[in-house]
Amino acid sequence: MTFPGDGDGSLEELLRNALHGEADLISPAGDGLARIQQRVATRRQRQWWTRPILALGSVTLVAAAGVGAYIATSHPAGNDTIRTGKQPPIFPTASQTSTAPSPSPSRTVVPAPAFPAAAFYPFTSAAAESSWEAQGGPTAQPWIVDPVAAAKQFVSQYVLAEHVTTVMGTHISGKSAAVTLGRTISDAGSQHPVKVTTVRLQHFGKAWLVVGADDPNGDLSISSPSSGARISSPVTVSGPSYGVDEQVQVDVRAIGEPFLTATHGTAAFGNGSAPWSTNVAFAPPADPRGAVVVIEYSAADGGPGRIAVNGVTFPSETTGYPAYFYAEKNGRVAKMSSRNGAGLTYMTPSTQHATDPQLAGSNVYYIHADAACGNSIWTVSASGGKTHPVRHDVVAWASKPGYAISGYTVRDDRNAVLYQTACAPGTTPAALVTYEHFANDTAPAEDITDWPSTPPAIVGDLAFEPDGQHVDAVVRTGTHSAVRRYVAGGMGNGSVAACTGFDLNSGEPDAMQVDNNGYQWFAARTGSSIEVVRCIGATQRVMFSISGNHQPADIAVAGSGSGVLVTDTEGHAWRWNQGGDVVALTPSVPITQLTW
C-alpha cells in the first residue's frame, strides 16, 4: 500500500481516483429506459382504472385507495425516507387524486409497450420506429409490416446471404413470428432444398423487428455473446460444436454497415476441436444496436449452410449517439466529444492543412490542400496513427490539374465520388465529377463526367446511398437549391429529384447526408430557423428545428439516424438524437465541418 499519509489532500486524491476508477468499470445494461417506460406504462394503466372508482367511492375509500396508490406506485420499496421540507414535493394526496376527472375515451392513455430488448433491425429504438410510422413509413416500406418480407430483407441486406430466399416455414403467434428461410443446394449434380436459418421477429408498433436468427436444425448456435449483451471490440464469440469438420465465419454488423469487422473471424471445430471460439475486432458503429452474425458455409457448394445471429448492444446504447465525432479544428482534423463538443485530440499534423473530414468504416477521410490550386483525399485511422493519401495502384483520389475538390463522398476505401471545380474563372468545363471505383470489383478505375458550366453546381458534400450505386447531392441552380439523385458512374448524365414531398419554397437545403437505411437528411435554411428534414421516399418530415437565421454548413447523420450533428457557417454546432432534444455544443473554436 503506497498511501503517503502526508495530509488529507493526497488521501482525497486517492479516494477520488479509486471511486472514479471503480465507477468507470460499471456499464449499465442497455434496456434501462425500456424497462422504466414499461413500468411507467403499467403504472399509468393502473391509475386509469383506479380513477373512476375513486371518483365514485366514499371519502374513506378514496383516501385508502389513494394512499395505496401512493405506496404502490411511488415508493415500491415501501420504506423510502424522502422527506418534506427542502426535498422535492411529495406525491399527490388522496384528495387530489379524487378530484381528478374520469378520463373520457378520447383521452385514454394507452400504455406504451417496451421496445423489444433484443431487437436490432430495421430499427434500433422505439423512437426510430415511431418516427418512421409518423412519416408514412408503412406505405413507403411495406416489407417492414410483413414478417415474412422483413425476414427475407434481413437475410439478404443485413446478413448478406442474398440467395437464401425460399420460405420453408412460417409461424406467427400474436406478436411473435419465426420465418424459416432456405435455398436450393447443388450437390454432385443433384439439387435439393435446405433450410438455412429461422429468423425470429417481434411485432412493435406497426413494424416487425428482427430479434435474432437460429439454425433450424440446431447444429449451429451462439452461446456468447448472449442475445442483447453489450459488447465492445474485440469480442469473443463462441458456441457449441456439432459437426465433423466444420468452419464458421463470424462478423459484427450494424444497419448498413457490413464492414465493421475488417477481417472476418473464423473458427474450426468438429475434427478434434473443442467448441468453436474466435476473437473479432470491429470498428464501433454509430448505431446503438447491432448483431453478431455467424455463418457456416456448405461444403457442397460453398454457399451459406447455416446462419445464426444474436442481437447485441454497443456502448452508445445509453446515450443513443456515438461518443465521439470528428471535425475540422484550426485547419486540422480533431476528435471531439459528442457530449459537449470539447476537443479531445488532433488526428492530423499541424504541418498539413486538413478540411472536410468524413468517417467511413474505421477511417477518417479528409481533404488536404497540396498546392494553391489542387488538393487530394487523405485518410487516417479513426483510432489515430499515420496519415496517408488514398491511392489505388496509380489512381489517386486527387483533383485534376486546374481544379480543386470542393465536395466528396466516400463509401469505404474502394469507392468515392469527387466534385471538382475549376480554380480559374472561365475554365471549361467549369466543374467535373470523378467516380473512383473498382472495375469488375478488381481493377481500380476512374470515370470522369464534365459539368460544362455552373450553375447548376453541387453544394457541400455528396452522399452515397447504401447500395453504393447512387449518389445524392444538394444542387443549386440560379434561383434555388434542391436535392437530386444521380447514378454514381454517370453524374451529369441526368438526375431525378429526390424528396419530392419537400416544398422548396419552405426552405433552402444547404447540406445533406444519407443514413444507413437510405433515408435522405438535409438541413434547410428558412430565414428564421434551420429545419432538419428526413425523407423516406417522397415523404418529408421535419425531424427538428434550430431557431435563428442560421445558414447550415454541414450535417452528419449517425448510423441509421440515431443521432444528427448540424453546423452553421458561423461555426455553431448542435446535436440531436432520436427521442431527445437539440443540444447546442460548446467547442472552444467555431467548427463548420464534421462527421460521425
Binding site: 500500500m1 479516494l15 477520488r16 471511486l19 426535498q87 422535492p88 376527472p101 374520469s102 446515450t319 443513443g320
Partner: protein, 183 residues
C-alpha cells in the same frame, strides 16, 4: 364537465412533459446514477433496479417537480435512500442465508484491460471504503465520486450540513487509519 375537460388536457400535457423529461434525464443522468448506486451497493444489478425505481417515482412526481434541477436532486435523493434500503434488506438476507461468497468473488471478472487498470492501491481504498459505516461511506461517495457540495450532500441524504461535515471528517480519519494499518 368543463373543469374536467380542462384538467384532462392538463393531465395529458403533463404526461407528455413527464415522458420527455424522463428520456432527457435518463440520457444525461442514468449512467452516473447507476454508478453512484453501484458504489454504495457494490452490486450492479441491484443498482440498476434502484435507479429504475427512482426514475419511475420521479416520473410520477413530475407535475410537482417540473424543473430538471429539482428532478435531478430528487433522483439523487431517491437513489441514496433506496440504495440504503436495499443494503439493509441485503444485510438481513445475508444473516439468514448460509455463508455467501465475498462480494468480490460474486462480481463479474474484469476484462484484461480493466484488470490492468485495477491497481492494488485502488483495491485497498475500495475495500476500506466498503468497511466504513454506512453514512460515512455515503458522504464520501457523494463527495468524491459525485462531486457534490456539502449542501447538496445534506439534501441528498436528508441530514444537516453539520452532520455531513461530521460524517466526512470521521470517514476520512477512519479511512486513513485503515489504509495505514493495511500498509
Amino acid at each position: 364537465m368543463v373543469v374536467g375537460d380542462q384538467r384532462g388536457r392538463v393531465v395529458d400535457a403533463g404526461a407528455r412533459d413527464a415522458d420527455e423529461a424522463l428520456v432527457a434525464l435518463y440520457t444525461s443522468h442514468y449512467r452516473s446514477l447507476v454508478r453512484l448506486s453501484s458504489l454504495l451497493l457494490h452490486d450492479q444489478a441491484a443498482a440498476e433496479d434502484v435507479v429504475q425505481d427512482a426514475f419511475v417515482a420521479m416520473h410520477g412526481s413530475w407535475r410537482r417537480l417540473r424543473e430538471p434541477d429539482k428532478a435531478v436532486a430528487y433522483l439523487r435523493q431517491a437513489v441514496v435512500n433506496r440504495s440504503r434500503s436495499r443494503l439493509r434488506h441485503l444485510k438481513v438476507a445475508d444473516r439468514k442465508a448460509p455463508a455467501l461468497l465475498p462480494a468480490d468473488a460474486n462480481a463479474a471478472l474484469p476484462s484484461a484491460e480493466h484488470a490492468a487498470m485495477a491497481t492494488l492501491d485502488r483495491e485497498h481504498v475500495l475495500r476500506a471504503i466498503r468497511s466504513l459505516p454506512q453514512r460515512q461511506r455515503e458522504v464520501l461517495v457523494l463527495r468524491y465520486y459525485a462531486d457534490l457540495s456539502e449542501a447538496q450532500i445534506a439534501e441528498a441524504m436528508g441530514i444537516s450540513t453539520g452532520a455531513v461535515k461530521s460524517h466526512a471528517s470521521r470517514g476520512i480519519s477512519a479511512l486513513r487509519e485503515r489504509l495505514e494499518h493495511a500498509s
